[in-house]
């Protein structure tokens, strides 16, 4: 028995370890849905999703302001951050001198690794006063959150877009050069279109990060639970709604927060699905 048994046993052990991911996802789904769904038995799902008022003390639960808040803040961050990140990725792959690249690459990696509280702290003590002086308002606003989130999603998009652009065969670039195109138009007309789905995947990953960001947004966005009124007014996202009120919520209020988590989870699952479809298309 000895050796044969040991081989079989270890195979089972490794297999069990591989299943840990599956179990974790099942548990997360189970707990989120089991704790969140009963809420929809007590409060109408439609009025929860489209209600414009969030007054937990009066039993009024509408998370439309938070859904819109998440969408606006993410959209703003994308508008500010995505073009910058993609152009930087192009620069890093095609135009960057080697010595600069050796500095730039670790800098981007460090940006990706800086904790979100540190971003939040920077936003709170530097960006908020800056926005207040330059654009008016009290500084804790949608605009501030957009700028900060744009900074945070830069490294995510740069890293994925860079590897997407790199994965395009060199022959595309060289073929275009041989036809007499300049370096720049070869990159933008031949290489970029070929890496389209990879770049889109990078943007989607950035969206996922922006939608899920909590601490940094909470520290700069003002967090008023009302319909977003303008880019210089405060805004509250779904993530912030959960983390701000979970500490003292009870009963129906607590269930409403978990239901907010369920809505967020569904958003994230959709974003994930889109990302993996696009990513697969790029590798093919």
């Amino acid at each position: 028995m000895g050796k044969q048994f040991k081989e079989k046993a270890m195979r089972c052990v490794f297999c069990a370890a591989a299943c840990a991911c599956i179990i974790a996802v099942l548990l997360i789904c189970l707990f989120l849905f089991a704790n969140g769904l009963p809420f929809f038995g007590k409060v109408d799902a439609l009025s929860f999703l489209t209600g414009e008022k969030w007054k937990p003390t009066n039993g009024v639960f509408g998370i439309l302001p938070m859904i819109l808040g998440s969408l606006y803040v993410t959209g703003g961050a994308l508008v500010l951050g995505a073009p910058l990140a993609i152009l930087t990725a192009v620069y890093m792959v095609r135009f960057c001198p080697k010595r600069l690249y050796r500095v730039l690459k670790p800098c981007v990696a460090l940006l990706a690794g800086i904790p979100s509280v540190v971003y939040g702290f920077f936003g709170l003590s530097a960006l908020v006063p800056f926005v207040k002086e330059t654009f008016g308002g009290n500084g804790n606003s949608m605009l501030t959150a957009c700028i900060l989130l744009a900074m945070m999603i830069l490294p995510t998009i740069i890293q994925v877009a860079e590897s997407a652009i790199r994965s395009v065969p060199e022959s595309y670039y060289e073929g275009s050069l041989a036809l007499g195109a300049t370096r720049e138009s070869s990159v933008f007309r031949a290489v970029l279109p070929a890496s389209r789905s990879g770049i889109l995947a990078a943007i989607i990953l950035g969206v996922g990060r922006a939608v899920g960001e909590t601490m940094a947004v909470m520290m700069v966005a003002g967090n008023q639970a009302r319909m977003p009124a303008g880019i210089l007014k405060g805004v509250r996202t779904m993530t912030v709604n959960i983390v701000m009120e979970m500490g003292y919520a009870a009963d129906l209020h607590r269930e409403a927060l978990i239901a907010t988590g369920v809505v967020l989870f569904v958003f994230i699952l959709l974003i994930n699905a889109l990302f993996s479809v696009l990513n697969r298309r790029q590798t093919q």
């Binding site: 591989a18 974790a24 910058l84 690794g113 540190v118």
Partner: protein, 280 residues
């Protein structure tokens, strides 16, 4: 430089595109310098020895207990996630048939896990470990939550490291009559070691920076823990609490420097270790 100007004269459109790319890169580099510079300039003058005293109280606002908690939390989550992640990756890379249903399911769920935002991990940890298992706010509950969070990262990096080992190693080992287990343990794992280590170091970086997943699982008590079942805040949570109160902005900026140094150190270490792998 002259070449660029010449290029710009002959093909203004192309020159413009080049310029736009360069400016974008400049803006990103500027963002980096602004962020890191701001943290260092505001934080370094605030670093004092009293920040590292053994006991936390509202006078010294010591970050030392939080530092110890961070170490404990890192150790705890790695203790759970590293064996699971490495074992799972060994199964995916060495045992399973590529394209089998189980492999697909593991890939899909690992991808899903790495996309879930930390606040949802926090929510799950609170409902499962804190409430259902009745662990209350504790280092253990926080560590378990973070272990699930870093599991996909360790799984993926380990799998990549294993797949980068040439098949000839395995064939040579089988040819000499070694079994699969021996081949994995003695032949495949050692050269993949630095790649695996690089992934683990990245995971440590994520644990150190995590806040949202810990507030409602490990709690925010500022002192040294008595046991794994007592609440304690990590450095990132400590910093969040300080900047939220608005009274200890100086201490918060000093903590930001400590966090930044740890994360930069982890990144550098991971890159150095990974480089060793490619050199062989």
């Amino acid at each position: 430089m002259r070449r660029y100007i010449q290029n710009f004269r002959r093909y203004p459109g192309s020159g413009l595109l080049h310029l736009i790319c360069t400016v974008s890169m400049g803006l990103v580099a500027g963002t980096f310098l602004l962020l890191v510079g701001y943290i260092l300039i505001t934080g370094v003058p605030e670093l004092k020895w009293s920040l590292f005293s053994l006991e936390y109280n509202s006078d010294n606002v010591s970050l030392f207990p939080a530092l110890v908690n961070t170490l404990l939390m890192t150790g705890l989550s790695l203790l759970i996630a590293a064996p699971l992640g490495i074992g799972g990756a060994i199964y995916l890379a060495e045992y399973a048939n590529r394209g089998s249903k189980l492999v697909k399911a593991v890939r899909l769920t690992a991808e899903t896990l790495s996309g879930i935002p930390s606040i949802l991990y926090g929510l799950f940890g609170m409902m499962f470990f804190v409430t259902s298992l009745k662990w209350s706010y504790s280092l253990l509950a926080g560590g378990m939550t973070l272990a699930i969070m870093i599991l996909p990262l360790i799984l993926r990096t380990t799998e990549e490291a294993l797949l980068s080992i040439p098949d000839s190693y395995r064939e040579g080992s089988f040819g000499l009559g070694a079994g699969r287990l021996r081949t994995v343990m003695k032949i495949v794992l050692p050269p993949a070691g630095s790649g695996i280590l690089a992934g683990i170091i990245l995971a440590i970086g994520r644990v150190v920076g995590e806040t949202a997943a810990l507030i409602y699982t490990a709690g925010t008590v500022g002192n040294l823990p008595d046991s794994l079942m007592s609440s304690g805040r990590t450095l990132a949570v400590h910093m969040y609490v300080l900047s939220g109160e608005g009274l200890h902005v100086k201490e918060a900026s000093a903590t930001a420097v400590v966090l930044l140094v740890i994360v930069a150190g982890m990144n550098a270490l991971s890159a150095a270790v990974a480089k060793k792998l490619t050199k062989g």
